[in-house]
């Protein structure tokens, strides 16, 4: 072996490894799916509703995905910590930031996999008509990226602390308020009872996109410092 592998190759390798492990052990995604379905049921009784539209629909759906994402984020770097993954990246002649991008990408994959099941179930349980779902997809995708990028940044901090499961959500939730605001604003409009409403649809996507971009940049800039011993 001569030149060290390119960062893109490293990201691909790390991502592939994580996805293969997930496929084999099925640790995160099935739990997330079960979790969301159960939360739907709890919401059905908590809100005393069998049909949802507008703000309630957006709220239930997005909060459920948020909590499922927290589950995945909590577990994201556990293997790295327990099996020396951090040291390995640090010692290898590769850019440590590759780990950040790989983990964020893995989270996006998990969340999309979750939504492939959670969305139809949501439709089944609560929605009158599915026409709001298509315009909801770009919103959900950008929100997933927001969860992924922020989660991949905060998760190593949480994993390497003593109050592991507490610190992660504690720091993450305030940080995720802006993308949740934008996603809810878009979601409640496209899921409106009277049919999808595209009022300022572009603005919400814009805010989500801006958030994703800024946190990607932040992660890229500071992740290396999280890897140091």
């Amino acid at each position: 072996m001569n030149a060290p592998p390119s960062t893109r190759a490293v990201i691909a390798t790390l991502l592939g490894k994580d996805l293969r492990v997930e496929l084999r052990t099925l640790q995160s995604v099935p739990a997330m799916v079960l979790f969301s379905t159960t939360i739907y049921v709890i919401f059905r009784f908590g809100l005393d509703r069998t049909e949802l539209a507008g703000p309630l629909a957006a709220g239930v759906l997005l909060v459920t995905i948020l909590f499922a994402a927290l589950l995945a984020i909590n577990r994201l770097f556990v293997a790295e910590r327990e099996q020396g993954g951090f040291e390995a990246i640090r010692l290898a002649p590769v850019d440590g930031t590759a780990l950040f991008f790989a983990k964020a990408a893995a989270l996006v994959v998990y969340l999309v996999a979750l939504e492939v099941v959670a969305l139809p179930v949501f439709w089944l349980f609560f929605l009158d008509s599915g026409e709001g779902l298509l315009p909801l997809l770009p919103v959900l995708l950008l929100l997933d990226v927001a969860f992924a990028v922020t989660g991949a940044l905060i998760s190593p901090i949480a994993t390497n602390s003593t109050a592991r499961d507490l610190i992660g959500p504690l720091i993450l939730l305030p940080l995720l308020v802006p993308p949740m605001i934008a996603a809810s604003a878009a979601g409640q409009r496209v899921l409106a009872a009277a049919g999808p409403d595209y009022d300022r649809y572009g603005t919400w996507l814009g805010i989500l996109g801006l958030y994703d971009l800024i946190f990607l940049l932040i992660g890229w800039a500071v992740f290396d410092f999280l890897l140091e011993d």
Binding site: L153, I154, I157, N160, S161, T162, A163, L166, I167, L170, I171, P174, L175, V177, P178, P179, I181, A182, A185, R200, T203, W204, I207, L210, Y211, I214, F215, I218, A221, V222, F225, L226, E228, D229
Partner: protein
Amino acid sequence: MNLSLRVLAVATAVLIGVGFALVFFYVPNEADQGFIQKIFYLHVPLAVIALGGFVLAGIHAIRHLRTGDPVHDARAYVSIHTSVIFGVAVLITGAIWAKASWGRWWVWDEPTLVSFLIVFLLYATYYPLRYAIPDRERQGRYASVFAITAGAFVPLNFMAVRAAESLVHPRTFATADGGLTGKMWLTFLVCFAGMAALWWTLVRFELTAKRTSGQISRLRRALDGTAPAGGVAARIAPGATR
């Protein structure tokens, strides 16, 4: 600028004193809100300075990561600490203003106040974070990553909350934009300068106290080899022994 702490403290007292005098003796009541509007001269400078302090902490954090010098970590820690305290004052005075204006202690209608609450909640997690990482050096590094992330988050947050507000509902708190007369501007600027001086004085004060405590620890260790009884708070925050 290396003004001595004494000069700073005096300047702070003078500015705040003059500012409050202007508020109560000089500036006329605002047409719409009447006497209640006077809270504006207290609440808004506190809020702006607090937010500025958070962003400044992010800059200290960047320097800390770049140089590894714990002095910058100390500055970031104290900046956040002081801004959080200012934040408590902002939220309390904001609630009083809301109660006086609309009869309720909290309103979701005012986007700036809501944004500030979110920022405050975020920075309040800074302490549990530091407590949860026993290794001093790693604690400082992670705290700096947090401070940078949170500092970048502040403007994003304000933008998002502002956008979410229905365009129908008017911005009720007249801030520095609309309709301030010359007298109001002067009063506002003096109060703003006073709060800024206060923030700076409190930060310098606390940094000095930390440095002194650190030096005492060094002395004690050199003299009889024991570590001082520092209590819980000594586990977090850099000693800044320089």
